[in-house]
Structures are given as structure tokens and as C-alpha cells.
Amino acid sequence: MPGTAAVMQKPWVRWVITGVVVVLLVVLPLILPEFANTTIARIGVFAVAVLGLNVVMGYTGQVSLGQIFFVGLGAYVTAYGVSQGWNILLVFVLACLIPAVVGLIVALAAARLGGLAIAMVTIALPLVGVPLAKRLSDFTGGSQGMSARFSSAPEWTGLYDDQWQLYIVLLVGGISFLLTRNLVRGKYGRAFAIVKGNEAVAGSMGISPYRYKVLAFTIASLLGGVSGFLYMVVVQYTSPETLNFGHSITLLASMVIGGAGSIIGSLLGGAYYVLVPQLTNLIDPGLTAVLQGAILLAVLFVLPGGLVSLPRLWRRKSVPSHPSTTSEEKRQDQ
């Protein structure tokens, strides 16, 4: 279907679609019920975390099991900054920078190891993070956690809190997605893809696999920090439980289910992370773990490429097409 691709390339089509989406995002928070708003805001929070994981895993092919650590770090930095009464913009910058710097330091060491060793190092992060968060109780509030209610809607807006919080998530999350999309589609994205494909080839082309792995890991940590900030905007509370290693695995599953190496897939992954527990709660609160496992298996059996491959599956069924077209479209979707 080169026709679809051609139309999608036309600037006016892209502008119209973008315009419709932006208008929807501005209008919807005003008309949706409160619980829908908070749910969408939560999806935004975890979509950014999954996006970061996608940069390092989906695009660069390095296994990271520690993404939740950076989310938690960002959340703790935000909570601490707010409790100290710092300017919120400064808090936001720190919530991005501190996880990024920690990620950089870890990556400088871990990326040298290569292969599964990186995964082992990243497992250590949440495992160390939980007792650390309990121990450093002067900064973290210990195992009782920390609250920070800084995201109430200002008077002049006339908005409800949930609407205001959703707008913050949409703005910050939207910018994160836009920047990441540009990054992975440009020079860096191509470099990531080569590092993922074959490190030796990357090296022979003058692309240092080490440097790009460190870069991808640092960006993932930074996005984790952004997600942590948004977590505090929406949830307004963090505790050592936030850093639980299990959440890291759920984030990973969300990324695979949404679609590895896909921007839209990250969004779908965030939706999976938030909606599936709510859905299983509606079916039977006593069986949530079993149902979530069943859904995970079902999606992976039917859609090995993740939810993002669903439209492709439809198209393949309706119009017979040869493999080269599919791979071209895949690039379009990203």
C-alpha cells in the first residue's frame, strides 16, 4: 500500500491529524468525568516511563530491568524538592537531571560489560533502591513514604485539580514524546538501530556502540525522571513500594505488549500498565494476577509485535501484501 504512505507523507494530512489530536487533547479534559481524567493522566505518567525503556531496549537493544528505579528517583527528588519549598521549575529540572546523571554514571560502567551483564547491573538498581529509600529517611520519609500536594489547580484557571493535572501530564508528556520521536527518527535513531543490529558493523561505520549505549541509557533514565515527576503530579505520594522490582518487570511487559521500538507502542504500553489492573478489578478483584497473566499471554500469542501491530494485522488480512511493504509500513508507524 504505497498509497497510504504517500498520503501520510503529504504535509497537510499530517497537519490535519496533528491538529485534530491537539484539539482533542485540549478539549477532552474539560468534558470527561474526573475518574477518566485521572486515568488518562496515569496512562501518561507510565507511557513516558515505557518510552524511556523503549529508547534503551526497543531502539538500542540493551536489556534494562531498572527503569522503575529512575521513575522512583524522579518521584523522590520531586517530593523532597516540594517539601523544601523549592521553585517547581527547579524541582522539575532536578527531577530530570539527577536520574539522568545517575543513569549516566551507571551506564558508563555497565555499557562496558555488554550483553546480559547490563541487564544484571540494572536489576541491582531497584533492589538497592528499596532499602536505600527506607534507610535515608531524612530525605525519603523512610518506609512511610512522602506526600507532596503541589499540583492543585491555581485559582485563576478555574479548573478542577484533575483537569489541571491532566494538562500538566499532557504538556510535559507530549513534549517528551515529540522530542524522543525526533531523536529516534534522526541521526541518533539510525545509530541506535545499527548498534542494536550489529555492534561490529556499527564500529566499522565509525559509530561507537559504547557511546551510543551510554547515550540511550542516559536518555532512558532522564525520561524515567520525567515520569517520576509526573507520578508525583498525579499520585502525589511516593514510598519505597514505588521502587518495587516487580513494577520494573510490569513496565517491561507493557513495553513489549505496546510494541517494542515504537512511539505509539509506548503510549499503548502506558495504557496497558494502567488499564489492565483496573479492568481485571472490574472482572474479579480476587483474580487480578491470574487474569493479568492470561491477558499478557493472549496478547503475545495473537500479536507478537505488540498492540501497535494490530492495524497491520488487519491490513494484511484484508489486502494481501508482500513482506517488503509491511516492513516499510512498520517504519512509517514508528
Partner: protein, 422 residues
């Protein structure tokens, strides 16, 4: 064809967002939302209550490592009100009889999910209750205050929920860690002999609470001396080093504020190996006769003490107790819990049901505000399954609904009340 596809794409985006909105079960904006819940008509019913029903919400871990106790937090209260509903309902102070419905959601001990569950329930339930866990209750404590939604009789020992200044819409149910440590300290201080105490505690608010309560109770008592005090981390897999050091102190009483089951068992064994045989104090949640004391060989010690306020369902001593028989029957019939519970949380949750019934009987207006007012007026109420000497008392400022515990001593099979030390 191509433009059609583009249109389809745009439509699918819109549809996708629509699905998200629909999945997030709709609740209309209207009166609630954003915390602007002030109403002109004082006696207008709060959400979740009609002339014939009242709905209570629970968010608690029903999956994951804490699912065992978590399931109990729902089963007990469901069993209690299930039996009441079968008899026609619960009588309220306004003369109406209502049936009680329970909406329970799983949070898997994740604070983020607990907060989401609260958001989902707050407009359709009258009050939130019985949920287990400190972080999972803290996550939405401030939101509940802002929305003026009761978060009461919850199962956490965190004292913040029982401080009406910090938590006007909250009240804890179970005794705090401080209450427990204090009860043992009082018993020890009242004994006639001289005692040397060795303390081992978990290095977090759990261990600190126990030690704080214990020290407060023995302050100024000449017959009690703390000879050695050590801590360990919740992540430690062995405390052999600490035990060896404590054994050398020659203490005859060992106050062990430990929350990790395997560590308690190995501590019981290690101290015997070392030939150190003191009297023990263990917290209420790590003193199970069958799961901990028997495998640890606790019969070798002169005494193992713990505290409790509920009759133990597993104990043969209460097998014929009428409260217990009724409780187990209700649990089976209405609580969807056919086994004899191995966790005290089932009994606690049942008592929460009984306490709520007392509050309902005093409520003259179907409002959350009146509920909170009446909630703080219950005193001297002996809920079913409570041990003699303990009672629900919500009138003590800064204390949870149950702050009285009795010290018990292990007798080789189960526990019996210990009025004196030794």
C-alpha cells in the same frame, strides 16, 4: 482509497481515546470533583447511601506477596455484614434499616494502584474501610481529607492515621507498634525481680515503634536495665552476628522487634545453639505458634511472650467459643473463605464490621460528617472475638480504635493470657 484510509486513521485515534474514556467507568462531574464538596443542604445524603443500602469501599492487596492477609481484610467484614444482611440489614440511628454492600478492589500493595482505586470508588461509596498497608493507605490519605471521604478503621499500625489533627477523616483500627511494645514493657516493669534486657530491632519505623513503646513503659523503673541494643536491616538474611553479641550481654529478657518470619525462626534456633536461653518478646505478627514457634523450637525457652487483642482462630482454646463458631460459619457462608484463617486480619476485619454497626446505630443523618462524629464516640465496646481485657475505644485522642492489648505467653501449643511476668 488512500484518503479513506487517512480518515479511518483519524477516526481510529478518536475511537481509541473514546474507548479509554469508556473503560474508565464514567462518573459524572456534577457535585463532586476537585474537592469542592461544600454543600448548602447539610442533611443531604452523602454518596453511597440510600434509604435501603449503604456501600463501603475497600482497597487492599488481593494479589502479590501480601494477598493472604489482604484477602482476609475483605472476607471478615463481608462475612459480618453478609450475616446481618441475611437477617434483614443493619439498623441506623435515623430509624432506617439498610443492607451493607462491600466494594473491594485489588491494589497489589502498590500505592499508585491504591490511589487509583480510591479515585474509582470515592463517588460511589459512603466510606473507605478495612484496607491493609501503610503505604497503600498513605497514598490517598490527603486526597481523602480534601474530598472529605472517611478512611476509617483501616489495618495499619501507622500512628498518623489516629492523629485527628493531621488526619481528620481517618482512624486506624489495629494497635500501633508503640502500643504493643508498651504493653510488654508494662508487664515487665510490674514484675518483682531484676531484669536485664537485650533489644534487637528492625532498622525502620516498625522496629523503632516497638522500642519506643517499650522504653516509655520501663522509664524510671529501677528493676529493668537495658544492657545491649542492636539493630538489623529488613533486607538482612542472617542476624547471627547480632545474636552472638547479645548473648554475651548476659540478658535474661530478649526483646526482638522483628517482622520477618524466616529470621525469627532462625533467631530462635541460633540462640539455643549459643546456649542463651532468655525470655522472649515477639511482635504480634511474627509470633504464630504453628508457623514460627514450633519450627523454631520455642519450647526450650523459659517464656515466649507476645501481645494480642483477638481470639486466635487456629488456637484449640477457642475452638468451641460461641463467637468463634459463629465467625467461622459466617466466614464460610458469606465471606467466601472456607478455611480456618491463618491470619488474624480476618478476625480484625470482622471486628471492624461490628464496630461500624455500632457507629451506624448512632448516626442520625445519612452524611459522612455525622458518621465521622459518631465514629469517635464508641467506647468500651467488646466486639466479637475480642480477648477479655481489650475493647474498642475511639474516644482516646491520638490512639487507634483498639489501643488495648493483652500480653500472652506461649504454653507449648498456643497462647494463654499472662497477668504477671515469669
Amino acid at each position: 482509497m488512500s484518503t479513506h484510509r487517512t480518515k479511518m486513521r483519524a477516526i481510529s485515534v478518536i475511537a481509541g481515546i473514546g474507548i479509554v474514556a469508556m473503560l474508565a467507568t464514567g462518573c459524572s462531574r456534577g457535585d463532586s470533583g476537585g474537592g469542592s464538596g461544600s454543600t448548602d443542604e447539610a442533611a443531604a445524603p452523602s454518596p453511597g447511601i440510600t434509604d435501603t443500602t449503604i456501600t463501603l469501599g475497600i482497597t487492599t492487596p488481593l494479589s502479590g506477596p501480601t494477598a493472604g492477609p489482604g484477602t482476609c481484610t475483605v472476607a471478615g467484614i463481608t462475612a459480618y455484614f453478609g450475616a446481618k444482611n441475611a437477617d434483614g440489614g443493619v439498623k441506623f440511628g435515623d430509624g432506617k434499616t439498610r443492607t451493607v454492600e462491600i466494594k473491594a478492589l485489588d491494589d497489589a500493595y502498590d500505592p499508585q494502584k491504591a490511589a487509583a482505586n480510591y479515585d474509582q470508588l470515592k463517588d460511589s461509596v459512603f466510606a473507605m474501610t478495612s484496607g491493609l498497608g501503610t503505604p497503600t493507605n498513605r497514598a490517598w490519605r490527603e486526597a481523602a481529607i480534601a474530598d472529605e471521604v472517611p478512611q476509617v478503621l483501616i489495618q495499619t499500625g501507622d500512628p498518623i492515621f489516629s492523629d485527628p489533627k493531621q488526619s481528620p477523616w481517618q482512624l486506624g483500627f489495629v494497635p500501633t507498634y508503640i502500643n504493643e511494645g508498651q504493653a510488654f514493657g508494662d508487664l515487665l516493669a510490674s514484675s518483682s525481680g531484676q531484669h536485664k534486657v537485650a533489644i534487637l530491632s528492625q532498622n525502620d519505623d516498625y522496629g523503632k515503634g516497638y522500642v519506643e513503646g517499650f522504653k516509655a513503659a520501663i522509664e524510671g523503673k529501677d528493676n529493668i536495665e537495658i544492657v545491649k541494643e542492636l539493630t538489623y536491616e529488613a533486607t538482612d538474611t542472617s542476624v547471627d552476628g547480632q545474636l552472638t553479641e547479645l548473648a554475651a550481654s548476659g540478658a535474661d529478657v530478649f526483646f526482638n522487634a522483628m517482622s520477618i518470619t524466616p529470621l525469627v525462626i532462625s533467631s530462635l534456633q541460633k540462640t539455643q545453639e549459643l546456649g542463651w536461653l532468655p525470655s522472649w518478646f515477639l511482635p504480634s505478627n511474627t509470633s504464630s505458634p504453628t508457623a514460627i514457634l514450633e519450627p523454631g523450637g520455642a519450647a526450650a525457652f523459659p517464656g515466649v511472650y507476645t501481645v494480642s487483642f483477638a481470639k486466635s482462630a487456629a488456637s484449640p482454646a477457642f475452638a468451641a467459643d460461641p463467637d468463634m463458631v459463629e465467625f467461622l460459619a459466617n466466614l464460610k457462608e458469606y465471606g467466601d473463605y472456607p478455611d480456618v484463617p491463618g491470619f488474624p486480619h480476618c478476625s480484625w476485619s470482622y471486628m471492624i464490621g461490628a464496630t461500624l454497626e455500632q457507629v451506624f446505630a448512632k448516626m442520625t443523618e445519612p452524611t459522612r460528617a455525622d458518621f465521622m462524629e459518631q465514629l469517635r464516640t464508641i467506647s468500651g465496646f467488646e466486639a466479637p472475638l475480642m480477648l477479655p481485657g481489650t475493647a474498642v475505644d475511639t474516644t482516646k485522642e491520638g490512639q487507634p480504635a483498639v489501643s488495648s492489648v493483652v500480653v500472652q505467653k506461649y504454653n507449648g501449643k498456643g497462647y494463654a493470657n499472662a497477668d504477671t511476668f515469669g
